[in-house]
Every structure is written in structure tokens, then in C-alpha cells.
Symmetry: D2
Subunit: 202 residues, 4 copies
């Protein structure tokens, strides 16, 4: 478990006994490289990488600063590239491996107020396509899991206190689809899969 702040992952690791916690700023290539060196040294080669880092500014083109626009891109796109580059050589050598990138509705289109987030997610999706096409024939499975809705975590519950339960995606259920992707046999791989609550209006 890699994260910028380890407060929450430390807590998680109390439950997930076999999980290890690493500090890592996805927007900073040096930090990413350092974290993966530690992972390799302590846990060995990576079999499955799930890239879930995703933050973004929700602003119009008039309000967003070039710095915010860049930061969104660093976390969602550059971080995905650098993290993947850390695990690809070992995966290629073994001829197997899984890279799952977690996208969002914004991966597919830019709305007036998603200038920074959507542009970053679109870059990430294109990157995932390039990776999947290049690495598939070498045995490495790259996929994009598009989460189209609000995930049920304490922060979103606070943001949307009136939102009915049925309009939240449960993190465990998202994880179940990610797990399924890792288990697909080589002759039937998914690149892109979307997930949303049944009650969602889309």
C-alpha cells in the first residue's frame, strides 16, 4: 500500500496483516522510484499493480491555474507512467503481470467544471491504451477500471450527507472487479470495464 500520507494505510495494515505500508508521492517521480525500490527489496517483484491515485481540481478554464492543471496531470498520468515503468521490466521478464489503472467518468469526457481532472484522466486513459497494446503480446495485462459514481468513504459521506445509500459504490465491490481482472486467463483479457450503482442516472 503506497500513499502520500500513511495515516490511513497504517490503520488499514492493522487489519490487513500481510499488507505493508510505503510513503510515496505519486506526483513526484523520485518519490515513486524510491518507494518501488523499497518494495522490491522487501517484498520482491510486483505481480499486480493497482494505480488508484487520483485527485483533481474541479474548476472551469477560467478558474484553474496552470499549477493546478499540472498537479492533476502529475498525480493521474505521470504517476501512472512512472509507477508502471517501475514494475514492467520484471513483469516482462516473467512474461506475466497485471497493471490496473483506476479511471473515472471524467476519463471519457471533459465537462465545464472538470478542466483539470478530466484532462488528466483522459491522458491517463490514453496512456493505459498505449501500455495495453504494447504489453499485452508480452504477457502483461493492462486494464482500465472506470468508476462512474461516488465511492462510499467517510469523506464523500460528509460531502453528500443527503445522498441515498444506493447511490454509493462500495470499495469492496470495486475491489472484487479488480480482483476478477487479475484472474482472467490470457486468451480473454479485458481492457476497459465500467462500474456504477444500479440507481445511477447516466
Amino acid at each position: 500500500m503506497l500513499s502520500r500520507s500513511t495515516a490511513f494505510s497504517d490503520e488499514l495494515s492493522d487489519d490487513l496483516r500481510s499488507a505493508r505500508v510505503y510513503q510515496c508521492d505519486a506526483s513526484d517521480p523520485v518519490s515513486v522510484e524510491r518507494a518501488f525500490s523499497l518494495v522490491r527489496a522487501e517484498l520482491g517483484e510486483v505481480d499486480v499493480l493497482i494505480y488508484n491515485a487520483g485527485s483533481g481540481s474541479w474548476q472551469t478554464v477560467e478558474d484553474i491555474t496552470p499549477e493546478d492543471f499540472e498537479h492533476s496531470w502529475r498525480v493521474n498520468a505521470l504517476g501512472a507512467l512512472v509507477s508502471s515503468q517501475q514494475v514492467i521490466p520484471d513483469m516482462k521478464e516473467r512474461g506475466s503481470g497485471q497493471i490496473i489503472i483506476v479511471g473515472a467518468t471524467a476519463s471519457l469526457r471533459g465537462r465545464a467544471k472538470t478542466t483539470g481532472f478530466a484532462a488528466a484522466k483522459a491522458a491517463q486513459r490514453s496512456l493505459a491504451q498505449s501500455m495495453a497494446r504494447h504489453l499485452g503480446p508480452q504477457g502483461v495485462h493492462v486494464s482500465l477500471l472506470i468508476v462512474d459514481g461516488v465511492i462510499d468513504i467517510p469523506r464523500t459521506r460528509k460531502m453528500f450527507p443527503e445522498r441515498p445509500d444506493e447511490l454509493f459504490l462500495n470499495p469492496d465491490d470495486i475491489a472484487a472487479t479488480a480482483l476478477f481482472l487479475t484472474r482472467q486467463p490470457r486468451n480473454a483479457w479485458t481492457f476497459e470495464v465500467d462500474l456504477r450503482p444500479s440507481a445511477e442516472n447516466w
Copy 2:
């Protein structure tokens, strides 16, 4: 198991002891309605409908006849509508049910030589979207499984005798993804998922 000719499904039903065979021409609404009446009478309400009927003429706009163009549409699009309409009322009343439509690469774009097949598959995909959006909030899960490649069956092996094994999709593995779709919990449903061999050039 519904099919136009029951020769193959009779054979399958020897292995699949609990499976029942019904004759049904997907391109003919009357035949579809009759088959589903029998299914309901003998097996009760349908929980999961997998619409896999799919044939198509592979011709350019110059070579295709209006009759071929219509037949592709009848099998892929009209048949999917009529079959779904047979099971939706019961599914809605129960507030649960699964309709999985099997698409193809041609669902996403029309090539020079896929005039009839791609137009029919595009109509089918649009229909699946309309159904998913309308039925999701009522508890009925509609999804589209896009098979992007050649399925490993005797007929395709004969058509492509030189094609390497790794470029065929195994039917069991396609079925595994369909089965997974039927088990997704209501707060995390997939609409569209693609499948292709790792070695495929796409």
C-alpha cells in the same frame, strides 16, 4: 438454450444435464415469443438472459443487398429487443434480473466490409444502452460484453487453419466473464466490458 437449429444444443444438453433445448429463430418475433412462452411454462421466470445470437453479412455497401442488411439487423438488434421484452416484466416485478448482450468489435465501428454486421451491432449496442439506463434503477442489470477476436470453435478453426492458438478466445473464458457480470452487487454494476486475447493486435 435457444437456437435456430437444435442439432448442436441437443448435443450440448447431453453434457449439461440441467439444460433444456428450445428451437427459436431470433430474427422472427413470433418464434421468439413462442419459445419464451414455453420456457416460462416449463422452467418458470427467467433470471438471466444471455443474448448471443449474432450473424452478419461481411460485404461492402456495393455488394450487400437490402435483404442481407435487414437480416443482420433482425438477428442482432430486433431479436435482442424482442427477447428482452419477454423477460423484462418478470424481472421488474421481482426487482432483479440480468440481461447480457454479446457484442463484437463491430459494435464500435463500421469497416468497409462490415456494412451489414457493424450497422446491426451498433444498433444492438445502442439498444443495450437504452435498456441499461431505463432498467438499472428498477433492479435489472443490462450489460454488453464485447468480444474482440475470434472465438475458438470448430467452424473458426476451419476458417483460419493457420491462426495460432493464442489468437483464439476460449468460449469457457468468455462465459466466466458473463458469469462474473451476473454476480456483481447492485451498487457496482458494469455496463460494457471488452475481451480479447493478450496476443491480439488492436
Copy 3:
């Protein structure tokens, strides 16, 4: 000017002195073939075909009948095929010609209440792609003009009496873009172009 009922086109032809009126039911291949035979006999070969026939039922999957679903497809997709097949041989022989198909927002996605219209428009768009890819190298330009909004005609003004002027597309302005498509030189052809009012929320 071909149309099912000639009442309006007769009226138009009073203004457009060089225009001729033909009765034609786009959903009926025999009627289409007869109309184009007349056109060829009276006016000679067709240089530009603009296929604007488009009607559709706006219903959910539960409400639409197979007949309505079929009728939408006949008008939007089958009619476009048959009309194009009437003009393609001459265009190919000359090595030039223009076929413009008029699509709609529904060409790109199926909503809950556009079951019939969107499926028909998706089939039409796929057909246009197949035609463009096949005919382009032979000198025939096929394009899709996606009208994303309400066109300013007496019927829509009655349907949406409160809608502000700025949310209507003017038919003349749509025609200007169609005209532009016909004038593109052979090394820079458009396949797909969208049009909407600046004030539209999309």
C-alpha cells in the same frame, strides 16, 4: 427534393425555381428505387445526395413495439442504404460524388427514452462509416452531419413554445455546413461534424 408527402416540398419548389419534387417513402426500398429512377431520367446523374430522412419513436424498451423499432430503422438506416445504392454506381464511374447523412445526438448514445430512434441512428452512423471507408479511395465523399439540438421549424416551435430563440438551430445554417462539406478538396475530407447552438448545454 424527395419526401413522403409532397405538400411541403411543393410549397418550397415555388421559391426554389430549379428544384424538383419527388414522392418517396424512405422506409420502402421499392419506393426509393422508383423515385431515383425518375430523378435520373429527368435530371441525370446525382452529384450530391443529402439523406435527411429521420423519424423515430421516443419510447423506453418497455413501451416500444417491435413494429415501431423496425420503422425507425427502416427510415434512418435501411433508407440511407438503399438511397446510397441508387447513386453510388454513377458516382464511382465519375470518380466523384457526395453523400451527406444527417445524424443526431442519438447517433452517439442510447438514452432510456430513445430506444428506437437511437438504435436506428447508431445503425445509420455505422453504415456511414462503412460507406466512407469503402468509397473514399474511389473518389466518393461520405460524411455524417450530427445535429445536436432542436431545429427551428414550425413543428418544433409548437412543441417547445417557451424555448428561447438561441436554443434553436437554423436550417439555413445547417445547410451552410452541408454545403461546405460538398466543397472540401479531395485531400482534406471530413467524415463527421457536429452542430449545436452556442447556448446549448451538452
Copy 4:
């Protein structure tokens, strides 16, 4: 005419008597801001901005460096944002203006060897969508012109000496479509339009 090196634009300005040349590095926000300050001081408010800066590394995920990946994004996406932000305030105040962004096939998908270029172009396209949706209702027209093919310039002629003439897009013809976009009336604006040679295989 803004460009990183002014050698070619100086030459052009001998022909285009009313054109002015400005040095500007699209990947550097400070340079972009400085150039537009000069433009405003010398020529007044900008009516039409055509953002045609586009370079990209053509490498797989294994070969591309984070620096190349970033540079592609700076030129194609960040530069488009910063340039647009320079002209939007005046355009909004006037309630009119045109921003045309020049995209490429790679705007729509990532191939194995377009890791950096396609991710940057995808970000640019998403940005253009966000801008178009936000600025349209305020009278500012943002559009994306997708050039799908090889442009006929000395550099590409050298790169592809065997390529037949008919597979090159003429810059003047691309410009004609850009000019057409600037003249569309407000009730019928295009967001996205593609251009390719008729002989192209796509």
C-alpha cells in the same frame, strides 16, 4: 504567428504582409504570457486563436522518459490552456471569439508507439471539451480540428519520400476548414471536425 523559432515565420511574413511574428515557447507559461502581452499591445485584442503547437515523442511505455512524456503534455495541453487563458477574458467581455485547437488521430486513441503524443493529445481534447462547454454559452466558440493524416510540408515529404501525393493533406485546405469554423453563426457551431485525404485507409 507565434512560434518557438521564428526562422520560418519570418519567411512567411514576407508573403503575408499583414502578419506579425512573435517568438514563443508553447511549453513555457511565462513565455506564452509574454508573447500574448506583446500581441495585445501591438495588435489589440485577439479575435481568433488557432492553437497548432504539437510535437510528441513516438515511443512505447518502455522507451519513453518521464521528461519526454512531460514535454509532450506541456506543448499540446498546458500550452493550449495557458494560451487560451490569455485570450478568454477579452473574448468573454466582447461576447465573441474563436479558439480552434488542432488535434490529431492520436487525440482519439493511444497506440503502442504513441505513448507520449497520444496521452498529450487526449488531454488536449478533453481540455477543449471543457472549454467549449463552459465558454459556448458566453459567446466564445471553441472547436477541435482533428487532422487524421500526414500534412504536406517539406519535413514530411523528406520523411516519406515514397508516399503518393494523394496521401498528403494540403495545409491550405486544413486552413479552409479552420476558416469555415470561424464563420459559423452562433446557432450552429461545430465542436469537433475531422479531416483526412480521400485515399487514406482509416
